[in-house]
């Protein structure tokens, strides 16, 4: 029996080694897990082939020709396992390093992104606050109780002042025209006084003439008329004084009339204002009011738009920040992958340890060798099951849109 199995192995070891080499190569290129499973399949194949060759025992006895052949087969198998071990340890190390850098890169990038989004959110909120302030400022402008310095209030105030000024000009004009009428009346009265003075002058002239006649009559009467001549002279003097007074009054009256005329001109000048100023100012204020109304409407519409945009930016930022949860998922996945690497390492170590003491070239014979291989297989299965139980994939969430993240 022993010889038979040995012969079989000797007969088939070349393709066996070749397939092991292919597996190893593929293992490094593709993935260690695939290589490992390949190795397990290989072991199983060896096992099954030997078993089947036992069952279909060929009549021709096969055996190792000598001890040297068995030894070199042992060495080849151990060399294979050692190579696998060494190769995989290198790959595992490299993979761990790359997993770590993936995690660090993602973590750094996510931190930066998170800060950017938080900054963006803050700026957007500040913007919204400013917009709100603007809106409330504009609403207050319409309220009389509020800010007197606002443009609307200023315009309203200007309108009030203008109205007051117009009313003032009109009432001043009415008063002035009334006064001009009274001045004209006074002027008429003065003309009447002038006419009366003419009458007074006529009386004085006539008195003078009478006194002259009386003086002539007194002179004709001779000595008896001497006393009468004195009276007539006095009367004449009186009439002359009266005439002088009359002239003086006339002069004063003329001066007064001149003064009155000046006053009339002054009052008239005061009252005569071109009303076009009022028309222009009024239309300008009206225009301003109209413009203000348009501006207010436009501004309110724009502010509403800005508010809506700010709201949607808020939403987008929220989505973005929520999506940043992928960092956790990546971290957990790399951790998990690391665990799998450990699994593979454990398996290789188990193979290494199980095969270390297994020798074809021993006294125990081929059965013990096969038993040893079976034990190694079982040991790997048991160990892997235990390791796998510890590795529970914590990342079941695959969709970033799940769950909500509150911004702070």
């Amino acid at each position: 029996m022993k010889i038979l199995k040995g012969a079989y192995l000797t007969k088939h070891w070349m393709p066996l080694a070749a397939s092991v080499a292919v597996l190893l190569a593929s293992g490094f290129i593709l993935s260690p897990a695939a290589a490992l499973s390949g190795l397990l399949v290989l072991c199983f194949w060896i096992f099954v082939t030997i078993r089947s060759s036992q069952e279909n025992a060929v009549p021709e006895p096969l055996c190792f020709r000598d001890k040297e052949e068995r030894e070199s087969l042992d060495n080849a198998v151990h060399g294979l396992v050692l190579g696998l071990d060494a190769g995989f340890t290198g790959v595992a190390h490299q993979m761990r390093g790359e997993l770590t850098s993936i995690r660090n890169l993602v973590s750094d990038a996510v931190k930066t992104l998170q800060q950017s989004f938080e900054g963006l959110n803050q700026q957007v909120n500040m913007q919204q606050a400013i917009v709100n302030e603007l809106v409330s400022g504009m609403r207050d402008a319409g309220d009389e109780q509020c800010d007197k310095s606002s443009f609307a209030a200023f315009t309203e105030h200007t309108d009030d002042v203008l109205r007051y000024f117009i009313d003032y000009v009109v009432s001043l004009s009415a008063g002035s025209m009334n006064m001009v009428g009274q001045i004209d009346d006074m002027s008429d009265r003065m003309d009447e006084v002038n006419n009366l003075l003419d009458d007074v002058k006529a009386i004085a002239d006539q008195t003078n003439l009478l006194a002259l006649n009386a003086a002539i009559e007194a002179a004709r009467a001779g000595d008896s008329g001497r006393g009468f001549a004195v009276v007539a002279d006095e009367v004449r003097k009186l009439s002359q004084r009266s005439t002088r007074f009359n002239e003086e009054i006339r002069t004063v009256l003329a001066a007064a009339q001149e003064n009155v005329s000046d006053a009339r001109a002054t009052v008239g000048e005061l009252a005569s204002k071109d009303m076009n100023f009022a028309l222009k100012s009024k239309s300008r204020v009206d225009e301003m009011m109209k413009h203000l109304g348009t501006v207010n409407k436009k501004t309110e519409a724009h502010i509403a738009e800005i508010s809506a945009i700010t709201g949607s930016i808020d939403g987008y930022v929220g989505d973005a920040v929520r999506s940043l949860q992928f960092e956790d998922i990546v971290a957990q996945l790399t951790e998990f992958t690391s665990g799998h690497l450990g699994r593979v390492e454990n398996m290789i170590q188990s193979i290494d340890e199980g095969i270390k003491d297994l020798r074809l070239n021993s006294d125990d014979g081929i059965d013990a060798y096969i038993k040893g291989l079976e034990d190694v297989c079982k040991q790997i299965a048991v160990l892997d099951e235990a390791t796998q139980a510890k590795l529970h994939n914590p990342v079941s969430q695959r969709d970033m849109s799940e769950g909500e993240v509150e911004l702070f």
């Binding site: 009109v170 004009s173 025209m177 008239g268 005569s272 009303m275 009022a278 028309l279």
Partner: protein, 102 residues
């Protein structure tokens, strides 16, 4: 004479027709049209059809006329005001004190 007037005694109507300018220089002429009349019972019409310019003194003269005609009980119509004159009546709110007609 830029101002003319027509007094119809039995109808108690006084019509005053203004010239192209109605300002302080027209004061005496304007006053003379009603000075000798008892205005309290009269229906007064001031025709602005030819008038293109008025100043504040003109407004004052109209107000004095209104005062002489009994103030709030006066019956005065400002007729055929051209747009510039009409605007002045509006912004000075004289259109509230006088009846304005076309």
């Amino acid at each position: 004479m830029s101002i003319s007037s027509k007094f119809i005694e039995h109808e108690k109507k006084l019509g005053i027709i203004l010239g192209d300018r109605f300002d302080f220089s027209c004061h005496d002429e304007f006053r003379d049209t009603y000075r000798s009349l008892d205005l309290s019972q009269l229906e007064i019409t001031v025709d602005f059809a030819r008038t293109e310019y008025i100043d504040s003194a003109a407004l004052g003269m109209l107000l004095v006329l209104r005062e002489n005609a009994g103030g709030d009980s006066a019956k005065i119509t400002l007729k055929s005001c051209q747009p510039p004159v009409r605007q002045i009546m509006d912004i000075t709110r004289l259109d509230k004190l006088f009846k304005i007609s076309d």
